[in-house]
């Protein structure tokens, strides 16, 4: 049986949330709530109440990036100082800690920022090809609910979307 994709557009966020709650409760065959994607012009953290808590893992990238950035900076700077015999030290330590900590700190931040961005791209699935079921209205003022399920589930999806005053329902057979 082929899988179908449906995108329903709503004017009102509360209606969209109610539709998600109904989809969850309806126990439609071939549909899983984790496959539902909400598209909106602004962030709606409230939606987690119906979609369930989903983990955000960007912080792990931040932790690794910042730690690696700081460590790398300290090791590189210290190694450079340890090999730079031509530079007169005037009795001061070959590897002076206070100035090295400043550079370590800067690179700690740089590593943190760069790897956080990388983490964001990976976790958010960007860059991505735009899905064929996309409406520019979603970036304007409408809420989109994208679902996928068996062909037999399409009627149930449509019934729920219509019940919650969907403005438009787009449908596409999955490739």
């Amino acid at each position: 049986m082929s899988t179908r994709h449906l995108l329903a557009l709503f004017n009102d966020f509360d209606e969209a949330v109610a539709a998600i709650a109904d989809l969850r409760a309806a126990n439609i065959k071939g549909f899983h709530i984790d496959d539902l994607i909400l598209k909106s012009p602004i962030e709606h953290p409230e939606v987690e109440q119906v979609l369930g808590d989903k983990p955000v893992n960007v912080q792990w990238f931040t932790l690794v990036g910042a730690t690696m950035g700081g460590l790398l900076a300290f090791i590189l700077v210290s190694a450079a100082q340890g090999n730079f015999f031509a530079q007169l030290k005037g009795g001061k330590p070959i590897i002076p800690l206070p100035p090295n900590f400043i550079l370590t700190y800067e690179m700690f931040i740089l590593g943190g920022v760069f790897i956080t961005i990388l983490g964001f791209l990976i976790c958010a699935g960007l860059p991505a090809k735009r899905s064929p079921l996309y409406s520019a209205k979603v970036s304007e003022d409408q809420i989109g609910i994208l679902v996928q399920g068996d062909e037999s589930a399409v009627a149930a999806f449509k019934a729920i979307f219509t019940k919650h005053k969907a403005l438009e329902i787009q449908e596409e057979a999955a490739k």
């Binding site: 602004i42 962030e43 955000v56 931040i109 961005i117 960007l126 991505a128 520019a136």
Partner: protein, 454 residues
């Protein structure tokens, strides 16, 4: 109570208004752009002359050396700090009035850092060896002196610039998607399509976006403080009279926030008029911005007094002589002008009637920045003119026309970059304004608004 923004403004209208700014600004936009290009032309001419004639034309052959260039360098570094203040600090504090104005403040951060970077280049005698400050592996095993605050500067400014650019870009991705969806052909369409990375506003994208934005904001705040503390260390870690002051790092940071806030007021007024942003850059928001500037002005005033007091009571006779020289010698008019523009003039901002009077605010904000530029000049030049050694004193030296040309041109360069940015990219954050409208209309309906806290 005055509303920062109308809650009944339609979201589609927000898109329309901001997208319109990318296409049809008022004619004065082109006038500003032409003036900026002419100013850049002056700087380019001065640089060519300086390059061909030698650094003597920039006073490098007397004790004042790079004073004007580095004073202006600090000024531009300082200017960058308010973007961070508005976009990062106020973001963490959930001050949502910042939303319509933070984007251009972030852009200001980026472009003022890029302008500051130019002064590092132009004050060098051997421009082609600028890369020597970077620690790169080489066959001679020669490394920069990592103990020098100048190398710290390179690291700090490079980190700040790249982080600011990324912060600006990441914060713009949802808006770039709006541009992509609404502009139907041409190079802009291609640009927005590539830069929006296929953003569709899914719950997964928003969740990760928010966490990323918050994390980078947390990084940027200490970074901004460290950048200007390090710039302050360029001076405070020397033993020149007038520079060897413990309170320099916080003094520099306060001065930076102050000049940045004043610049945001100036640009707010310009953008509001040029791009017809009256609905978004509203007078109540201006009032909050002005109050913030006033508070920072008072902090700066206090730190200024602390600096004078610590020199006065510090039992360092040379430093004390230097302070007296600044206040009574040939630099006295500029010193007292700095005090007037930096500490007295902002008292006007405490009056409610001036807090939303745009013509007065426009003039005052420019004068505040004149005061802040003078502050940097008064930190640097008098120490060169009246240092430790009387035989090196040079009280009558005035910066050359070439130096003034460069300083003048730097304002053109900044304006050029900034105005081009505002024409190509949305200078008001559409999605954040929608969030602001959404949460305020929810609050008005006495409905609990859940905000994106992680």
């Amino acid at each position: 109570m005055e509303k920062d923004i109308r809650e009944d403004i339609a979201w589609a209208q927000i898109n329309k208004d901001v997208l319109k700014s990318l296409e049809s600004p008022r004619r004065i936009y082109w006038v500003i752009l032409l003036i900026a290009i002419a100013m850049v032309g002056v700087a380019v001419g001065c640089e060519i002359y300086q390059y061909q004639t030698g650094m003597g034309v920039a006073n490098k052959n007397n004790s004042h050396v790079w004073s004007l260039y580095i004073a202006t360098f600090i000024f531009w570094i300082g200017m960058s700090h308010s973007g961070t203040l508005l976009s990062a600090i106020l973001h963490l504090m959930h001050a949502d009035w910042r939303k319509p104005i933070y984007r251009f403040a972030e852009a200001m951060t980026t472009f003022s850092l890029m302008t500051a970077g130019l002064f590092v280049m132009v004050h060098l005698g051997r421009l082609w060896q600028v890369y020597y400050v970077m620690p790169y592996p080489n066959e001679r095993w020669a490394w920069p002196n990592f103990q020098s605050p100048l190398v710290w500067d390179m690291f700090a400014i490079a980190t700040y610039l790249s982080s600011s650019v990324l912060f600006l870009y990441v914060g713009m991705i949802p808006d770039l998607a709006i541009c992509r969806d609404n502009i139907h052909a041409g190079w802009r369409k291609k640009l927005y399509t590539i830069m929006s990375l296929g953003w569709e506003g899914t719950d997964r994208q928003w969740r990760n976006f928010r966490m990323t934005y918050l994390t980078i904001a947390c990084f940027l705040i200490p970074l901004a403080v460290s950048v200007h503390s390090i710039v302050a260390s360029d001076f405070a870690m020397s033993n020149m009279p007038g520079w060897h002051v413990t309170s320099f790092p916080p003094y520099f940071v306060a001065g930076a926030l102050y000049s940045g806030c004043a610049a945001i007021i100036t640009l707010f007024i310009i953008l509001r008029y040029v791009f017809r942003f009256e609905e978004y850059m509203t007078l109540p928001i201006m009032r909050k911005l002005v109050r913030l500037t006033f508070a920072i002005a008072m902090v700066w005033t206090y730190l200024n007094l602390i600096e004078f007091a610590s020199v006065w009571y510090g039992h360092d006779q040379t430093a004390k002589d230097q302070l007296i020289f600044k206040a009574t010698g040939p630099y006295a008019p500029y010193f007292w002008a700095m005090i007037f523009f930096g500490s007295i003039l902002p008292l006007m901002l405490a009056f409610k009637r001036f807090q939303t009077h745009l013509p007065i605010l426009f003039v005052v904000s420019i004068l505040l920045n004149v005061g802040m530029w003078l502050e940097r000049w008064m930190i640097i030049s008098p120490s060169f003119a009246h240092g430790h050694y009387p035989w090196a004193w040079d009280h009558d030296q005035w910066p050359s026309l070439i130096q003034w040309g460069m300083v003048f041109g730097s304002f053109g360069w900044f304006t050029l970059l900034f105005m081009v940015f505002c024409k190509v990219f949305p200078s008001v954050s559409m999605y954040e304004v929608k969030e602001m409208v959404y949460h305020r209309s929810l609050a008005q309906k006495h409905k609990p608004a859940v905000k994106g806290d992680y």
